[in-house]
Subunit: 235 residues, 2 copies
DNA sequence: CCTTTGTGTGAACATTGTTCGCTTTTCTGT
DNA sequence: ACAGAAAAGCGAACAATGTTCACACAAAGG
């Protein structure tokens, strides 16, 4: 290890990380107390400023970690789903829901109401984490789009590897995919966020089933005729 | 007027209301300061407790008012849209978006991340406001469902008036409508909340157009064959 | 070895939400 | 009409928060 100082510092930074995450899980983002985090990490409140730029810095850390963990969860689920396009999209939707329900405070922090004083800086670690978060979703949708295209019109499928690397600049991704990606993500996110925040209890709905229906609907509209029948809403 | 005291009280309560709303608009819900509201209303912080039960009471008031205003905006838009089912559903979606973009802090407060300490009491004014908020949406979806049903299968349409009054108990609404209502709401809410919270800027999407596409997709799945062609995603 | 750099502390300050005793104003019942 | 009750509003107080700053101490490097 490069110096005793660096090692101690890394250790303490990890303690701060986990302490902050614990606090977030317990009390939520809006009520997150810097002093409480310091107490749990065994450090004085002012000492925390050597590691993190005040309360906003703490939130930035949590947001970045949240996106990272969320993306990893989705990636693992879609990797475990095999090669079938439908199965992979379903894995995205269902793992999206499960992570949100299992980590409601983190979910609310990264994708819910923005915290008032805080604005993510473009040079911060957040942007890179968002990229990692979005990647598995984009890949799944792009694959589905390509497969549907070739299935319905016999056109040549675009190699999805050509879509990467994509970045903050929207031109790295074909403009034609933007709308389908936004709609697909929004359908999943709408159901999940409403459920996670408690606005869907009246319906008594089986949200997993609704998500599966949405995934099939997306695929149908992308030209996968084989999954169409399941799309029809049963009354 | 029934007593000078009651009149003064009503007046001051209104000042508190608008002061709280101003504060909310300016700083957001998480940073809403009771003392600042008191200052703007021209009252001492402790005096505020005669009107509102602390900070949570202030939030409850704002949440209730928010749902009410949101519902009214949607209702007016759908009333102005005429009798066409498609036009009415589009009005719901587009007015949903407009209100959220025009009142992002209120939107975040009532439908975003729940505020930590706060839990709406069932006997509070919030539940009634939520009812008023949901009513126009439910009506529009129920109408669309009924029309689609008769158009596709020739079955008799259920009079939508039979669906009301509905309440917190889910049995007042036919169970078959729950899923389509949840999916329809979630599609609109997903797009709008993502855009309002700033997570859709990368796409450069025309969200109004996406919303229209979603509305048509819902109608198509409800059996309106006439709007189906517009549903296909253009690549 | 001595200087420079970094690390952590404790005291301080302004601000927050909330409670409590007190005064003043309004209502009410006889 | 007037005494007693009820309500309204205020100011002081308390605990807790985020942030800053001067200072003490440990490590690193010439």
């Amino acid at each position: 290890m490069q110096g005793r100082r660096a090692s101690l510092r890394a250790h303490l930074f990890d303690r701060i990380r986990t302490a902050a995450l614990d606090e977030l899980r317990r009390t939520g983002a809006a009520a997150l107390s810097l002093r409480e985090v310091a107490r749990a990490a065994g450090i004085s409140p002012s000492g925390l400023y050597r590691y993190v730029d005040g309360r906003d810095g703490l939130l930035e850390l949590l947001i970045s970690d949240g996106f990272e963990a969320f993306g990893r969860a989705i990636e693992e689920a879609v990797d475990a789903a095999g090669d079938d396009v439908l199965a992979r999209l379903e894995a995205v939707a269902l793992s999206y829901r499960r992570w949100a329900l299992d980590n409601p405070e983190q979910f609310g922090l990264i994708l819910g109401t923005p915290v008032p004083g805080f604005q993510a800086r473009a040079d911060g670690p957040t942007t890179e984490s968002v990229r990692r978060f979005a990647e598995p979703m984009i890949r799944a949708v792009a694959d589905a789009s390509a497969a549907g295209r070739s299935a319905s019109s016999g056109e040549e499928a675009v190699a999805t590897d050509d879509l990467f690397p994509f970045g903050p600049e929207p031109d790295a991704l074909p403009a034609s995919l933007h709308s389908v990606l936004a709609r697909g993500w929004a359908r999943i996110h709408g159901l999940v966020s409403l459920e996670t925040f408690g606005h869907l209890v009246w319906s008594g709905a089986d949200v997993d089933a609704l998500l599966r229906a949405e995934v099939r609907s997306i695929l149908a509209e992308l030209g996968h005729q084989d999954v169409e029948p399941a799309t029809r809403i049963s009354l």
